[in-house]
Symmetry: C3
């Protein structure tokens, strides 16, 4: 059987180490059978890989990569909450995608497709979610993209 | 009996054709008995009717109309998910209203009242919801307003 | 026994009078056993105490205070929905913190820590929540910070 982790690797992605909590908030919480994540930024190995707004500092293509990394971090913190068993995710319910935007930038949807398409590539039909994408004047630490996710989870 | 659709028409509104999904995300999802919508922008017949920020490009009055259209699109996608039976909506739970704003614009609440007031006009007390309104530096496709909605739904 | 209200007072805070609804939306709604609040701004006794963006108008320290007040208002409206019995809050589930930001401001997390740290100080481990913090080009009435909260509630 192909696992979720297999599909992540087949797509050329890898699950990052979940970032350590840096404040009093926590990376995930269960609300009934829904696992909510805190806002994820494109951290890789403790370093923020994509900083600055689109398109003056980061071109759209880079922002799409940033959105993918945010999504991988959401999966990484979900995995930690699920004892490493991503098979327990029965559905991606919702993604909110915030894009650090220059005045006049209106392609937030293209950026958000980075993480939306990745979730569908990984989870198939169960990866199809509702989504909100919008521009932000500035994101934590200067991140290019921030993503929050809600996953539906079944018992192991 | 006056249906929800009757009330929509009596108020001078009409339910648009739900916009076709343009990406891998979907317009609505059930999360238990709550129907969540993706972010809705003021599309009418496949055309974005209100573009640009408030108030430099769109005056507040236009933005209020834009918010109404976003709300009607939320009802349209909900209707599609409910086989056309909007009577199954037992409550409007939550609206998030994002307003494309110029620097210094602080009347996001007035704009959001467009969709809040409309929901109460349509659903009466069951239309009273919690709400978040905020300014955005830029919304998808240059939309003036974006609205996401959560409806509580009972069995048909 | 130390009540939630005791801890609020011990920390030097006090619960404000919940702001009256100024539009057709409502301050809180139950969604199952989760109590959702509308976006709260730093109103004290009917007056908006912190206006303007960070850091040009409000330094970070002031914005942290503003975030605390938003959190206290969220608790005030929750208290009103719970007949004054804040002991019914079993967990702080989620906070979304919107910070009115100048171009180039990227310390939204520091501002959001104001309300996150306060919730943990009040509720202990049960106060640890998932969080999203982001910059906004402009918030209702010119507020410096806006916070929406979700509390898990048990029967009295």
């Amino acid at each position: 059987m192909t696992t979720v982790l297999d599909r992540i690797h087949q797509l050329g992605f890898s699950l990052p180490t979940p970032p350590n909590p840096v404040a009093t908030y926590i990376p995930t919480i269960f609300c009934g059978n829904v696992l909510l994540t805190s806002g994820q930024i494109p951290m890789v190995d403790g370093e923020l890989k994509y900083k600055g707004s689109v398109p003056s500092v980061q071109p759209i293509e880079a922002a799409i990569r940033a959105a993918e990394i945010c999504g991988l971090n959401a999966l990484a913190v979900a995995s930690a909450a699920l004892d490493g068993n991503l098979e327990r995710i029965s559905r991606v319910v919702q993604l909110r995608v915030y894009v650090a935007s220059d005045l006049g930038f209106t392609d937030q949807s293209l950026v958000a497709n980075g993480v939306s398409d990745m979730m569908v590539a990984i989870f198939g039909e169960a990866g199809r979610h509702v989504r909100v994408a919008l521009g932000s004047i500035g994101l934590p630490l200067g991140a290019t993209v921030e993503v929050e996710a809600a996953f539906e989870v079944h018992d192991s």
